[in-house]
Symmetry: C2
């Protein structure tokens, strides 16, 4: 598996994964009817670093890395990950997570923060814990889960100087 | 004191307050050298509802009210407040906070979340606690305080159906 910087011609693959990931309304805040243009801004807007994981020329997942806050908060990074649901269990999320931690450290960030991990998304919560993240906040009923209604979301955080 | 929706001609007053508030680098993430255009987008960008508190025709403070997340997270509001430092102690922050809670409820939000309350900003932390907010998260060393170096920031939250 190769993880590399995304280029604009990756967007068609990214868009296909994005649509399938948001469709159930169970892990991401995006409305299942989110427009293609909005998705494009999310992955290729100004100042956004996006990476794809590919195998045999096929994009299997992607992540983006940005400062979580401007200026006096810009030493903390934020990242978002999506994996093609048909490729779960192959360690793509984990590989991208490790890659992201390396990249964030290389760029000079001191910590990485996830602002909104849906509490019922057990796979994600377990993966981030395994990679050293702690739940530093719980946002009560902050996510309107399509099947379960309002559920909590977690803020997860880790410093980058410990591995 | 009158609290009302801001109009674009309020921006000069807002900009003056904004500059003085961010100058010490102790409460907001904005670099003290933030450009006027950036401040304008922050207060008058698309989809942003901004309010001013005024007395005798003078703007003494302002706040903005936006969804904290899109779509499946848009039932939780986010707000930011600034008060002219020369007018502290007059209850302007408190009055705007109460106004904001009413407005957010009126618009149909279920909760209000602050993403980044600097932990050493004791006045703000105390005010929000008095108005019913809880600290639901602590972001370790997430703020680069100009005098104190890296300090924690809090995520604060309250539902709008309890008063």
């Amino acid at each position: 598996m190769l993880i590399r910087r995304a280029i604009e011609s990756d967007f068609e693959s990214i868009w296909q994964i994005f649509k399938v990931v948001i469709e159930p309304g169970d892990t991401y805040v995006f409305d299942p009817n989110t427009e293609r243009e909005e998705a494009f801004s999310y992955w290729f807007g100004a100042g956004i670093n996006t990476y794809v994981a590919e195998e045999l020329g096929q994009v299997l997942g992607m992540y983006k890395l940005i400062p979580n806050q401007p200026d006096l908060g810009s030493h903390v990074a934020n990242a978002s990950f999506m994996v093609n649901p048909h490729c779960h269990g192959k360690g793509i999320g984990r590989a991208m997570g490790l890659h992201c931690l390396e990249e964030a450290k290389k760029v000079g960030y001191l910590a990485l923060q996830f602002n909104f991990v849906v509490s019922t998304n057990q796979g994600a919560v377990a993966l981030w814990k395994k990679l050293g993240f702690s739940i530093v906040g719980t946002l009560p009923k902050a996510f309107n889960h399509k099947q379960l209604g309002y559920v909590d979301a977690y803020v997860m955080y880790r410093f980058l100087d410990e591995r």
